[in-house]
Structure formats: C-alpha cells, structure tokens
Amino acid sequence: MASLTNRSKVVVNKKMTFWERLYLPAIFGGMAITLKHFFRKSNTVRYPEVKRPFSPVYRGLHVLKRDDKGAERCTACGLCAVACPAEAITMTAAERKKDEKHLYREEKYAAVYEINMLRCIFCGLCEEACPKEAIFLTDRLVPTELEREDFIYGKDKLVELLDQRIDVSKRQVKTYGEDLKI
C-alpha cells in the first residue's frame, strides 16, 4: 500500500559490506555534519535582552479589565471560577455603594478576586466563560517568586491600572453586541 506521507523507507536487513562495517567512513561523515553546524549561526535568543514576539493567541498573566470610564467590569458572577478546571480562582462578592459608581460598573462587584498562579494552567476557559468581558489572558509572563504565597494574585496585581491600560484587542474574538458597551 502506498504510504500517505511518502516518507516511509523499506527496511532491508542486508549484510553490511566491509566498507560499512569499518564504521570509520560513517564516523567521519557524522563529524563533517557536526563541523558544519559549528560554523552555523546559533539559534539562541539571549532572553532578557532579546525577546521573541508573542503570538496573538498567547495565554499568559490575566488582567481584570476596566471599561472606558475606568470602572471595573467584573460583577463577581463566579462563572470563571466555575469554568476553571484547575480551581485556581476564588472571589468574594460585595454590593456597590452609592458613591462607588465610578469604581464598579455593575451593582455587584468582586471585593476579593484571587487567582493562584501555581494552580492556573492558563487554559483560557475563564475568559471564555466571562459574560462581561472582564477577564482576559495577556501576553505578559508570571514572574518567578520565592514564596508560594506570592503566587496568589489579588486584585492589586490583576486589575489594570487606570494610567496603564492593557491592550487585549487581539484576544477579543467575540463581542456580545452593543448593550455591553465595551
């Protein structure tokens, strides 16, 4: 039967000739190949100085988005926590006070929102589950820490800063219509 890939080779267990049994020609051939690589340009990327571009679908450190007025989008519905297969997300909901309208978009908000970055598998199901377009995975990396506690990221690390908005337009593949007013 013809192979699909055209890469299969017929194996023949024929006796090796004297020349082949010497092995030396094969060894010199191998050494010629490695020597060729000796003069080739290295593929190494010197990481902290040179950074490779991330792909647009890269799933890295999460961000909790604010809307264009700067109010937090998250309403602490808990769908992300339910969707999370690694159970990395926990949150506590609270009711918005009258004078907090500029801080939170909806009447309910997350008083505590924590993601354990050691549990997180960066699958992106949380952003898929989110009905408010509040949580996104970005092309940032989770830095290393020395203590396990430091990997539990609270709102202080997750919510984007007002003056340092994080661009997630590459990940916004779906939109939920005008009523959301993103």
Partner: protein, 338 residues
C-alpha cells in the same frame, strides 16, 4: 638545580590545572557551537569567568558522605583520581632546552628512561580512583560504573600498549624525550598510521570520554561511579577527567606528532631560545587541536553498548594492534637487512 626543578614543576602543575579548568568552559562552548547554541555567555565577557563560577559552586555544595559507605576509601577515591591525573605529565617534554641566565634548562620534569611505561602505568593506576570511589559508595550504580571502568581499562590498555610497542620498536628507546628527538625529520604518525588510530581510540577509552563513557553514562547509571559524590569530591572526579584529556592529548602529540617539533624549525635562522619557545607553542597548539577533536567526537557519536565496547576492544583493536606490531617488526627487519 633543585630550585629550578621545583619552579618548573610548579609552573607545569599550575598550567595543567589552569588548562583543565578552562577545558570545562571550552567543552561547553564546543558542545554549544556544534549544536547551534551559544553556550555559557553570562559570567564575564563571552562567559570567560564560567569555570570560576562552577568551581565556586562546587565548593559551596553540601559535602555528603553516605552512611553505609567505606568512609576512608570514599574520600581516597577522588584523591587518587586527581593525583594520578596530575602525575602523568611529569615525563612529557614540553619543549626543547632553554638557555636562561647562563644555564641550560630541560623543559621536562623528569627524563625517565622508561617514560612511556611510566605514562601507561600511571594511566592504569588512574582507574583505581574510579574503582575505589565507585565500590566504596555502596551503591549499585556506582559499583556498575566502577566495574565497567575496570574492565574497559583492561581491555583497552592492551591495545594501547601494543600500539606503543610498535613505536618503541621504531625508536629503540622507552624515553619520551628520545622518541620526540627521533621525530625531528618525519613524525611517527606517517610510519604508524594504524598504530596512531588504535592509540587514539584507546586514549578516548582511557579518558572515559564519549563514545566510551560507559563508567559514568548518565542515562543508564545516573552518573556511574560518581553517583554518590557531591561537592568538591565530585569536582575532583570531573576535573581529573579533564586533566586526563589534556595529558592524553599531550601524549598523542609527543608520541605521534613530533612533540615540540615543527617543519623547518632549524632552517628559519632563529636563535635556539626562540626556536624552543616556538616549539612549546607548537606543542600546545597540537595539544589543543587534539583536545578539540576529543570534544568534537564526544558531541558527534553516541555511546557504545557494553557488548560493542568489548567487541571493539578485544576482537578488533587488539588483533589489529598485534598485526601492526608484527608488520612493524617485519619492516624493521627488512630495512636493516638491505
């Protein structure tokens, strides 16, 4: 006279250690380049301080001695390996004579009459360090590594000795200086190409370098004889391997490639001292060339299987070496008859 020798020994000793230190860096760089990588480049410019960082790390690691080990032998093992590695360099002529302060200085620590035997002897004592270290660790992997080292050494020492006998027959002397002096015209490698090949393969095996690194082979034996070693004791074992490599390259260069001789060395019209110093440089150039070939082979060829190792040693190299020896004898007989 004694002072002169002491200074010379100290110089050779420190050069050996320095070169062995930098061989670790060199090896990593060669490996990296052969694999399209960069290698260590963080410590200092081009990573030139990497060996210092490695050594510092080795010193600060926990020095662990297994509870069930034979403590004295466990400590003695790396010591023997290191000691024998350093001793072998004593009979190698690093250069011709130097005229300094009105004195003639031999650039050789000891011109022993039986220099070649001394080298072979010390190289084979070197395996005691591995054997003792591996056995006293009281670990099955270490023991396997030690046994492999022992049997490998026995198998390849024979072929090595036989190929050296052909050289001794040509030269008529066991003194290393004599062997070098005789190569002033034509290097031994042109008389003994087969002998050189056998010697080179055996030298790889004696240094426990890939593709003959069965005593330590990480994939099967988790490091073999030095599985239980840590800290500077492990460092000594690894360091001894690099010293051995340096010395082996030096022996190959002196016995087969004319030592400090280079073409037209006496027809350039330079003074004796300049020629001597050039000779030293040329010898080191040859040594580094062989070290590079050692590394090149290591990063090209995969490790032998154990039965292949024994097959190559006993069924191929030893018969070939005997054939080479007999052929050399016949050649000498014919050339003296005529």
């Amino acid at each position: 006279m004694v002072l002169e020798k002491t200074i010379f020994i100290l110089i050779i000793f420190s050069i050996t250690l320095l070169i062995a230190t930098y061989l670790t860096y060199f090896e990593r760089k060669v490996a990296a380049f052969l694999q399209d990588r960069l290698g260590p480049d963080r410590a200092g410019p081009f990573g030139i301080l990497q060996p210092l960082a490695d050594a510092g790390k080795m010193f600060f690691k926990e020095d662990f001695i297994p509870a069930e080990s034979v403590k004295l032998l466990f400590i003695l093992g790396p010591g023997i390996a290191m000691f024998t590695a350093c001793m072998t360099g004593a009979v190698i002529p690093w250069g011709d004579q130097l005229q300094l302060f009105g004195r003639t200085i031999d650039l050789q620590i000891a011109d022993v009459d039986i220099g070649i035997l001394y080298v072979v002897g010390f190289v084979s004592i070197g395996v005691y360090g591995i054997m003792i270290g591996g056995w006293s660790s009281n670990n099955k992997y270490s023991l396997f590594g030690a046994i492999r080292a022992g049997s490998q050494m026995i198998s390849y020492e024979l072929a090595m000795g036989l190929s050296l006998i052909a050289i001794v027959m040509l030269t008529g002397s066991l003194s290393v200086r004599e062997i070098v002096e005789q190569q002033a015209g034509v290097w031994n490698v042109f008389y003994q190409p087969l002998g050189f090949l056998i010697f080179f393969i055996c030298a790889l095996a004696e240094c426990n370098r890939a593709p003959f690194d069965l005593p330590e082979c990480e994939t099967e034996l988790i490091g073999g004889y030095h599985t239980e070693y840590s800290s500077m004791k492990l460092g000594f074992f690894l360091f001894a391997e690099y010293i051995n490599m340096f010395i082996s390259a030096a022996v190959i260069a002196t016995v087969y490639f004319g030592g400090y001789h280079f073409p037209f060395m006496h027809s350039l019209g330079l003074s004796e001292n300049v020629v001597s110093i050039l000779g030293i440089l040329v010898l080191f150039l040859k040594i580094f060339l062989f070290i590079f070939i050692f590394m090149w082979i290591r990063w090209t060829l995969p490790r032998f299987r154990y039965d292949q190792l024994m097959h190559l040693g006993w069924k191929i190299l030893i018969p070939l070496a005997i054939l080479n020896m007999v052929g050399t004898g016949g050649f000498i007989l014919l050339s003296t008859k005529m």
